[in-house]
Symmetry: C2
Subunit: 403 residues, 2 copies
């Protein structure tokens, strides 16, 4: 498969944060399973969480606590999702926050909590406790500490995922560092998507909340996985900037652009890390009646199992692509619908165009990212989605997951 | 896989119809590809067609002509979908109707047309013409003629699909005979779903239209395939009953019940004939706020690739099922959500229930149809869907389809 672009070149971290990854023994594999990010002083934090009605205990906490101007830490465990665990699960999630707060001398409410792993098993709190204790002994502000925290949130990930950005505003330079976990075919049991974005750009709690929604909409919400919204999906933004100089609207825009770009890199790494995925593709839709319509159409194509299997076979099966646009919902103008695959036009103004299918198939095989460009009329709507193919390995992997 | 229940026991056909299947050479395989059903006198006909905005030329004709009180025939070809074929495609579809009408001495508008096969290729009209001519030479009213017509609509079907029903109303006995083609994972290129229901029960054109919508809603719309609505999907109802004695509301209900039961058998045969499908499952949802909500939830579970792969692996992975209900959309009451798989309760009132997973997996393997029963609250809403699993063979089949 296309080699994922994992960022192993160290980058500068925003000042004011310390990181640690530790092993509490929650994962049977003995791999790191407790990740801790501490802000040296109270910072602003906001969370965006899953829209699934079945959500994990830590999601409840993040919702209650977001946005918050006095956040001190994010504690994450992997290996157990603390989902469908009832009242004991709620108590355990709160206890995780309390254990961290105790060490920091802050309120339990000032700690955000995330979990990822198997659903429906009680949290092994002794192991969580041991992991948190160990993590506090390893906190540091260097890149290696960031990577340790990054590793400890992973589950089925084939590689860790992080990205950074730097930008200037009003004569000052600001930094963004982001990490996430998740694999293309997001499974609710273990392949939940979790992300943390830390920055030294100053935001109010309200601004952080607004900014994070915009960032997620432009990055993680642009990748199509299998439509299965996890019980635990959460992204947290921590802003440790000087609260005396809050961002202007213009500053917000600059920050959101930079953070969205970093998060889109992460989102694409998630897609490329699909469990069993082998080929990556982008669906670009133009000419829709609105950007919203374009996105819905792009997502419909990107999520179609028949399109995904065609991409897997490097099959320029344009009928499936045009048809997936046709059932997406938004109005399309079929007589002005055209499609190019890897730059080769195969359907133009509602009519098939003869092309060398074997040659095009080879071009699809050679592409690091297969591009499908679909024009659905003369509207101004534009949108794109990224997705991975559906392979025999995906089915094999997911068929034999818990048993 | 579970042996599909193909109906090879001859059944009595409603009087007044003749059937033929012929080979025009549209399919490279040389298998039958032209199917003709003729009503001896003008009959009532109605069609339900795909909601895809990209639809084939014959779909346009069926929409224009439905409902109709003077229908004489349904002509269907397999091997070419006549979709995305522009104005020539429209002319070709009309020509198919005209050729049949010419033989019958009726108006071209009195003929309904269906096509299924590859998208985007011009219709080989010489072959279609030869097939129609040949079909007229083979028309007959015996079961073998019905089967010949049935065979000629098939494409990737592993077996032909038909069902019959007989019912009494007002002291008279009426008959329904139905045939369809389509395979579980409905692909827009060839595995379009087509169906024809013929009956001697008397209906007006308006009644036929209403009845068919109700029948399709209770049968073909209850099976979850891969969400890919084909460009050609069409179901046609032909009623050749004595137009002097139109059905009462009570008669309509009796007819719709009987026809829905026959069509649900066909729908389940389509699911079981999934391209590469190996295991069949039913999702039953109770306790939703309305029947509509229950259906949406059942469909969300039935369509989830992660649920489908879990069924493929006989994996009692209840987290995926509950989670798919959680993101379906309609309100669920998680604290009163329970799930049984093959009669074993695995999740009760929002809490996991310990069970012998290996034993349950064996029960799933042994079941001819795995049953998932999901209660999502205390509402009165009830609904169910049927689906097939997602297997390695499905991906293999669909990845290498046109090239």
């Amino acid at each position: 498969m296309t080699q994922p672009h994992t960022t192993e070149t160290p980058f500068e971290l925003p000042a004011g944060f310390r990181f640690a990854g530790a092993t509490g023994g929650i994962k049977a594999s003995g791999k790191p399973d407790v990740s801790l990010i501490v802000s040296d002083r109270p910072c602003v934090a906001a969370a965006v969480t899953t829209t699934n009605q079945v959500f994990a205990a830590p999601v409840t906490l993040c919702r209650e606590r977001s946005p918050r101007a006095t956040c001190r830490a994010v504690i994450t465990n992997s290996g157990n999702a603390n989902a469908c665990t009832g009242k004991q699960g709620d108590a355990d999630a709160r206890e995780m926050g309390r254990l961290v707060a105790e060490q920091l001398g802050c309120d339990g409410e000032d700690v955000f909590v995330m979990s990822t792993g198997v659903i429906g098993h009680p949290m092994p709190m002794d192991k969580v406790r041991a992991g948190i204790e160990s993590a506090f002994g390893q906190l540091g502000d260097r890149f290696e500490h960031f990577l340790a925290a990054n590793d400890a949130i992973c589950t089925t990930d084939a590689y860790r995922k992080n990205a950074a950005a730097e930008f200037s505003f009003d004569g000052k330079t600001y930094r963004i560092a982001a990490m996430c976990k998740g694999a293309g075919m997001i499974a609710p049991n273990m392949a939940t998507m979790l992300g943390v974005v830390v920055t030294d750009f100053p935001l109010s709690d309200g601004q952080a909340s607004t900014a994070l929604k915009r960032i997620v909409e432009r990055s993680f919400n642009r990748v199509s996985v299998d439509g299965h919204m996890s019980t635990n999906d959460t992204v947290i933004l921590m802003s440790g900037g000087d609260a005396q100089s809050l961002a202007s609207d213009e500053g917000m825009n600059v920050f959101v652009d930079a953070a969205s770009e970093a998060c889109l890199r992460l989102a694409k790494l998630i897609v490329a890390d699909g469990e069993g995925a082998a080929r990556f593709f982008e669906v670009e839709v133009t000419g829709a009646q609105s950007d919203d319509d374009a996105l819905v159409i792009a997502k419909s194509v990107a999520a179609s199992p028949l399109v995904k299997t065609a991409i897997s076979g490097a099959d320029p099966n344009w009928g499936r692509i045009v048809s997936a646009a046709g059932y997406a919902g938004p109005k399309i103008d079929v007589a002005h619908t055209s499609l190019t695959i890897e730059g080769t036009i195969v359907f133009e103004s509602g009519q098939p165009v003869a092309c060398d299918a074997a040659k095009l198939s080879n071009a699809m095989k050679a592409a690091s990212e297969v591009k499908l460009s679909l024009a659905v009329g003369h509207g101004i709507g534009y949108g794109h989605y990224w997705s991975s193919d559906l392979t025999v390995d995906y089915v094999r992997f997911n068929a034999l997951y818990t048993t």
